[in-house]
């Protein structure tokens, strides 16, 4: 039962609702200012990033060192809830049969992938790890990316001892050129420290 001292009138009710609507409308308008040019660019970049990181492959090989990029990929995967796959490619020389056992390389692959898993674990993301045998690193990665429908390939870089027309290393350039998705490469600058992952390898990489 309504208290007898309540004075509910139609005008009062309209005023009550109007006050609330006007205040809410004002605050909504205030918080929806048009975006600046810089903000629009940032927004598009965010959307592109979200689309490109649905499935991420981090590539390792004897020549491609990607531990530092693995950290970046793990952070990205956690934020964007992407699938993460770490792949170590063991190159089988043409002088050996394709199914040849590569004991030393396989062992190195295990170490590297264990480190990748530890990084992923530290960042709270689940990861699949895989060792792949192939005649050519680039082709193996491209095949894997196609099979996994990857949105992004992430890898570190190395510089060839002798310039052979591919400053980032042939395998990396071939992957970048042949991939059907985006490729993120961590390139060491002339005085950079990207590849000095001594704490992971126990020795200075520059040595």
């Amino acid at each position: 039962m309504i208290d007898s001292s309540l004075h509910v009138t139609a005008v009062g009710a309209v005023c009550a609702v109007s006050v609330v609507l006007m205040i809410m409308g004002t605050l909504w308008w205030m918080t929806h200012a048009p975006r600046s040019r810089a903000e629009q660019v940032a927004r598009v970049a965010e959307r592109v990033l979200r689309q490109m990181v649905g499935s991420i492959i981090v590539v390792f090989s004897q020549e491609i060192r990607s531990e530092h990029m693995m950290v970046l990929a793990a952070r990205l995967a956690r934020r964007e809830r992407a699938d993460l796959l770490a792949a170590y490619v063991v190159e089988v020389p043409f002088t050996l049969p394709a199914t040849a056992t590569m004991e030393t390389e396989d062992r190195a692959a295990l170490d590297t992938l264990a480190a990748a898993e530890a990084i992923a674990q530290k960042h709270g993301v689940s990861i699949r790890a895989q060792t792949i045998h192939g005649r050519q690193t680039s082709q193996a990665v491209l095949d894997l990316a196609k099979r996994e429908k990857a949105n992004l390939i992430v890898m570190g870089s190395y510089r060839e001892a002798k310039y052979m027309g591919a400053p980032l290393g042939r395998a990396i350039e071939q992957i970048a050129n042949g991939a059907k998705c985006d490729v993120l490469i961590g390139v060491e600058g002339q005085y950079g420290s990207l590849l000095r992952t001594e704490s992971l390898n126990g020795k200075d990489a520059s040595e």
């Binding site: 208290d3 309540l6 005023c15 205040i23």
Partner: protein
């Protein structure tokens, strides 16, 4: 190479910018409602409407200027830039009066609201304990500001959000459960004041709209100020206008749940305006809303007291920063620039203007039951004087500085050419100037203390200014040389308003080219 100067970080979001202003202006209705009802009676809603219309013009002027010149000085900076150092000083000095009154008035109001819960703090029944508590609050705020403890923007944001929710709830339940339109009309008929009282009421109603300045003060820390400030300013204008008009109409047409003690035989709005209740009118009103009043009686006084305390603190902060800024512009002695070696706060400015607030407080206490109104009088004078100069500065800057891009421009302008440049004369600015001048006249006619103390404050300031400028060898009425163009480019670049900076540089180049082309003729 010269090391980079540290600058304020742009971290204030739209809500942060809004709450900076709201913490100041939002508190005004808590003190203005009772004061206006005390003098304008049944026409209080009309007084708020008139003052509100002037306030809209003031708000639009501030919005345009703060978006065009997003620097921390506020009104004082706009006037100095548009009208020169002397008038810039007067505007800053009038704003300083407002900020010092802000400290005393809101500390008084804060304790007034607390007295709803603790009757021993009432200004009428226990004036000594009330005065001592207010004095203690002002001194404590000064010490806190010297030590550098200030409520954070986040805290201010939370209190502002709670207060908005609370005020909207009071109005919603008040209109829904206790509003009688026929009572509103009846109250206006029986309580219609004399012209003198109405003028007095209008001049007091303007104080419920003072504080928009705070948004300008936070401009240097606001993200994309030229785009955000127009939104936050206009939103603040609308919110406060909605609150002021709604509260005054609700109070006139409100049927209280039960007759409050002491209100027997008098209309509820009349009861709100008595000296015993004027400093806690919103709390009394909310407590008398059916059903909702049970809850509101407990939390509204507390929330009001906190909001008023924040507002009082913003007076300490604002007055010291204005004095610091005026000192940097050589409008005040460099003494006011002195920073505490340990706490890095402008200690001289804080102590000096908190001291002024305490003097004002003592004068108010000497008025007895009229102390709260005395502070209101001075507050209205300071606001009307500084707003008058801001309107003139708006017009002067439209003419003298037409090239500065205005992300927000007051509508309804008269276009004309001045020195080869297209200029828009602001009609609303002229209208606002007439409105605020009339309020200034109302203040001078109706406030017997405001008419003496207000101009006296300005005259003392001018004497002080002349002595300082003469001793330094600066021009008394002229301005020091300043490169406004380079300064404007730097302001826009630092604000991150790159599109506006490009527009400004483009206009400057076009003008240079035009002058070169016209040269040989």
């Amino acid at each position: 190479m010269k090391p980079a100067q540290p600058s304020l970080r742009r971290s204030v979001t739209p809500w942060g910018s809004y709450s900076w202003g709201y913490a100041d202006v939002g508190a005004d209705i808590f003190v203005a409602l009772g004061l206006v009802f005390g003098v304008a009676g049944g026409a209080s809603n009309i007084a708020f409407l008139f003052a509100g219309l002037v306030y809209v013009c003031v708000g639009l002027a501030y919005t345009e200027l703060a978006a065009a010149y997003p620097v921390a000085g506020g009104g004082q900076y706009f006037v100095m830039r548009g009208l020169g150092d002397f008038l810039g000083f007067i505007a800053g000095w009038a704003v300083l009066l407002d900020f010092t009154i802000d400290i005393a008035l809101f500390a008084w109001g804060s304790i007034g609201y607390m007295s709803t819960l603790i009757p021993q703090l009432s200004s009428t029944s226990h004036p000594i304990s009330h005065f001592v508590t207010v004095l203690f609050v002002v001194a404590a705020l000064a010490v806190l500001n010297i030590v550098g403890v200030r409520e954070s923007t986040a805290f201010q944001g939370v209190v502002s959000a709670l207060d908005m929710l609370s005020e909207t709830s009071i109005l919603f339940f008040g209109f829904l459960f206790a509003f009688r339109p026929e009572l509103l009309i009846h109250s206006m008929q029986i309580g219609w004041p004399t012209s003198f009282q109405l003028m007095n009421g209008i001049s007091l109603a303007i104080i419920s709209f003072v504080g928009l300045e705070s948004i300008s003060h936070a401009a240097e820390e606001t993200q994309r100020p030229a785009s955000i400030i127009p939104r936050t300013s206009i939103s603040l204008i609308l919110t406060i206008l909605i609150f002021a008009l709604s509260y005054s109409n609700l109070a006139l047409g409100m049927q209280p749940w039960h007759t409050p003690v002491g209100a027997e035989g008098q209309p509820f709005w009349h009861f709100l305006g008595t000296p015993e209740n004027a400093d806690k009118a919103v709390a009394i009103m909310s407590a008398n809303i059916p059903l909702f009043g049970v809850l509101a009686a407990v939390y509204v006084p507390l929330l009001g007291a906190i909001l008023l305390l924040i507002s009082s603190n913003s007076g300490v902060f604002g007055s010291s920063r204005i004095a610091y800024s005026m000192s940097q512009s050589r409008l005040l002695p460099t003494l006011f620039e002195r920073v505490h070696p340990r706490y890095r706060t402008p200690v001289v400015s804080i102590v000096a203007f908190s001291g002024v607030a305490i003097v004002e407080l003592i004068f108010a206490a000497l008025q007895g039951s009229g102390g709260f109104e005395f502070l209101g009088d001075l507050y209205a004078f300071g606001a009307a004087a500084s707003y008058t100069l801001v309107f003139i500065a708006l017009m002067a800057l439209r003419i003298n500085d037409p090239l500065t891009p205005r992300a927000f421009k007051i509508p309804f302008n008269i276009p004309f050419k001045y020195k080869g440049e297209a200029v828009d004369f602001p009609l609303i600015g002229a209208l606002g100037l007439v409105g605020i001048l009339s309020i200034l006249v109302f203040v001078l006619i109706t406030h017997h203390i405001g008419r003496i103390a207000g101009p006296a404050w300005i005259i003392i300031g001018i004497i002080f200014y002349f002595i300082y400028r003469k001793r330094k060898g600066f021009s008394l009425f002229g301005s020091l040389p300043r490169d406004w163009q380079a300064s404007q480019i730097a302001i826009l670049r630092e604000a991150g308003e790159l599109e506006l900076m490009d527009e400004y540089v483009g206009k400057l180049k076009a003008r240079e080219k035009r002058i070169q082309d016209e040269g040989p003729q």
